[in-house]
């Protein structure tokens, strides 16, 4: 996998709010088709990092290169083209409340393609079927449960089949069965379509199932404290913080 060129390259990224840096000089690569997981305790900057990687926030310093184009400085048309290459699922779903679920999923298709309405509807319905929401297309987001909203949001992020999908806490708040189904979906899309996933999550079972590689962020280190395969990290890491993260899981699993 590392023989390929990275699809996302983060270079010396320093991010923060006001003058306070949350992460300093963070660098890492994400390769095409891999499931890349960002993990770490609360407040370590996971979501902040994600928001910088999708160009929502401007970094204090550094670059985020997506397919060799810097999303932090891209403007206008270049930025739009770049944004069409990625799909994002936000933590709370962020579905548009005034549109039905199907209309939510169809929106990117309407804006970016020339397909007829019937075709867009069908594409949207297949996306909803992928996340087991085939029958809910005509409902309003408010009529869905929290877990269903998340799945609908994933369907919307996938509407244009972007090569990169960013998922912010996809399985938080989902029941174990749906959560496992979602993991399978992520793996299937990554393996069959070569979709690259960047996932922020706490759910350790999910991390061990889906992650090809993880980076672990730490609040006090203001950066990456571990990088690699989660199984390998769990078994061989010499860093106390990393062991703590995975060992607590081991304790929980034993209970």
């Amino acid at each position: 996998m590392s023989a390929q060129l990275p699809i996302i390259r983060v270079r010396d990224l320093t991010v923060g709010y006001g003058r306070r840096a949350v992460l300093e000089k963070v660098s890492f690569d994400v390769y095409p088709g891999e499931v890349f997981v960002i993990l770490g305790g609360s407040g370590c900057g996971k979501s902040t990092l994600l928001k910088h990687m999708i160009g929502l926030l401007r970094p204090m310093a550094g670059q985020v290169l997506i397919e060799e184009q810097d999303i932090t400085t891209a403007q206008g048309e270049a930025r739009r083209t770049l944004l069409a290459r990625l799909g994002v699922m936000y933590q709370s779903g962020a579905l548009f409340g005034s549109m039905t679920v199907l209309e939510n999923v169809r929106l990117p298709l309407e804006e970016y393609t020339d397909l007829p309405l019937e075709a867009m509807d069908l594409i949207a319905r297949t996306k909803l079927a992928l996340v087991q929401l085939a029958g809910s297309g005509s409902m309003l987001p408010a009529e869905l449960s929290g877990g269903m909203q998340k799945r609908a949001a994933i369907a919307r992020a996938m509407a244009l089949d972007p090569p990169i999908l960013f998922l912010d806490e996809p399985s938080a708040g989902l029941d174990p069965i749906t959560s496992a189904g979602l993991d399978q979906l992520i793996l299937r899309l990554a393996r069959s379509l070569g979709v690259t996933f960047v996932v922020v999550t706490h759910e350790l079972p999910s991390i061990f199932t889906i992650a090809d590689r993880v980076i672990m962020l730490d609040k006090s280190a203001r950066g990456i404290v571990a990088e690699g395969n989660p199984h390998v990290l769990r078994d061989t890491s010499e860093d106390a913080r990393v062991r703590q993260f995975f060992n607590r899981e081991a304790v929980l699993e034993a209970v």
Binding site: E77, R80, T81, A84, F96, G97, S98, T100, L102, E103, L109, E111, Y112, T113, D114, L115, P116, A119, D121, L122, I123, R125, T126, K127, A129, L130, A134, G137, S138, L140, P141, A142, M158, A159, L160, D161, R188, R191, S192, L193
Partner: protein, 383 residues
Amino acid sequence: MRSHRRPLTSPAQLALTAPSADAPARLALTGHLNAYTIAEVWAQARAALTRFALTPVVVDAAGVDYCDGAGIAMLVDLLRQPRTLDAPVRIEGLAPRYQALLDQFDPAAFREAPARLHRSLSPTERLGRTASTTLDNLRSAVAFVGEVGAGLAAAARRPEHVRWSDTWLVAQRLGVEGLPIISLVGFLMGVILAFQSAIALRKFGAEILVADLLGISLLRELGALMTAILLAGRTGAAFAAEIGTMKVNEEIDALVTMGLEPARFLVVPRILAALMMTPLLTLYAILIGLVGGGLVMLSFDIPIALYRNELFSFVTMTDFLGGMAKTFVFGLIVAWVGCLRGLQTRSGAAAVGLSATSAVVTAIVLIVVADGIFALVYYHLDI
């Protein structure tokens, strides 16, 4: 045409091999199938299926070198078309990894159109829905009277239990921060009234009577009305939007489960603040309006002292108090309706907008109605 389309790596193409009478028609698909490339091919393939409605059709997908979800959707679309038994559609040669994607879907499941998103309601149903919503709103409005009444009564009994810090904060936002717009509109109102009437009165050499006209209309009527309408737009909408957003975010539910009644916690401070600030703002608006009128008078060569004397000799305390009495009612209406509409908000961002709109419209209507009642009562009381 969309301007921001992806460059086509290798465009999707469709080649049709017309069959001899009994051989199946072959549709050969090649190239990249994704949402940006397939619009044309999709239409051609559908047309071909219609053309060969009675013969089997084979979709040869061996030449497809990339196929994402949109391409899969197209294949599903071709498979879901209703066909006779002896004229099936088959897909051949699709690379196994794409075949696996296609196998996730059962084309038959997509045969029925999804329930229409916005089905049109029959007039009867619409009437029923409107009636039911109106009744619901009326019921909650009546319940709101009770809740707020109880809250205000409790506040009167035990003033130390009122959330005064909230009240002062609302009073500041509603009053102090509303001064610029009140100044602007009040001043303009005074200037315009004075100027318009002065032009007419000058014909009779009676410019000085502008002071009477300005005084009586600002004190009795326009000061209070203008301030109330500005407050409805500025403050009533803000109340509705803020409380509505709290409702949408389940913050109201959180209050209720903490045992804190929204009426006491949110509504009472707002009503108290409005009751305190509306008269003060009205007073201020009247003063600014009179100053504006005075400046116009100056330009008509009437000294300020003369203007002031004429004003004070004409308007009475009753005029002033009659106008100020209205302000309490108007302030109550603005805060009341703003909070009520906020609490009636349903779910979603759009609902907050509807609540804010409805708060402003309802408040203005009620203000006008109340003003009419005041006029009637004052007339009969001979005030």
